[in-house]
Symmetry: C2
Subunit: 110 residues, 2 copies
DNA sequence: TTAACATTCAACCAAAAGGTTGAATATATT
DNA sequence: AATATATTCAACCTTTTGGTTGAATGTTAA
């Protein structure tokens, strides 16, 4: 089972629009740091930092080939995030179901 | 359709562990600000601020009754977040499928 | 009407986030 | 060997974030 800080790191990484864009880019296939940075208006260094954050969250993996660093997208952490969200979502959904049932039952008695 | 900043606000709100805890608490039912704040070690004011963030992200709704403010959990923004995550996840999953298929096809030719 | 309670507002502070530029490191090309 | 390329490291700056305390506001209770 993954350490509990994993979810925090994942959500934090996803909370930045630049990082989400990077992920989208990488979900279309491997790319080097420079390639990933190219479309952005910010400096290469800034993008490099964002990639670091994504790496710490295990959302991005790095494969060095000579001077090139090839980045790829890893889906696993998203699973945990999705799970948390689904869980939180369904909890309340179930409560609503329970409430509706209760109201239905009461209706039957009128 | 929701404005595009909604997802950013949602993920940002979820990225803080205190706020996730507050949501969990509220997903079990309505509660007043003081009640929500009680289990935390930080000040009431700090929690009040977190609630503000959750409200701006539409994850929490407020219903005032006299001096009490009753807070409740709203699931809708989580749907958008879940959707984004699912979409990003499946994109890559599909690419993997395509790759596997390609490799299978090549195997047949050997 | 005074006192207690529930909550926010305002001012402040430290730490973190997101960006910049410039130098360092390592690899590739000529 | 010299130069160009790919990338990070380090120092710095500004804004945002998450927290504090103290005062203000509005509501209920004695």
């Amino acid at each position: 089972m993954p350490p509990p800080k994993t979810l925090a790191r994942t959500l934090l990484a996803l909370a930045d629009p630049t990082r989400r864009a990077i992920l989208q880019r990488l979900s279309a296939g491997e790319a080097r740091v420079t390639d990933v940075a190219q479309p952005f208006k910010m400096s290469l260094n800034a993008v490099s930092k964002h990639i670091l954050v994504l790496e710490r969250a295990r959302l991005v993996q790095r494969r060095k080939v000579g001077r090139d660093h090839f980045l790829s997208y890893r889906a696993e952490p998203l699973d945990a995030a999705a799970q948390w969200i689904e869980q939180t979502r369904h909890f309340w959904a179930n409560r609503l179901d329970a409430l509706e049932k209760l109201l239905r039952d009461e209706d039957m008695n009128k």
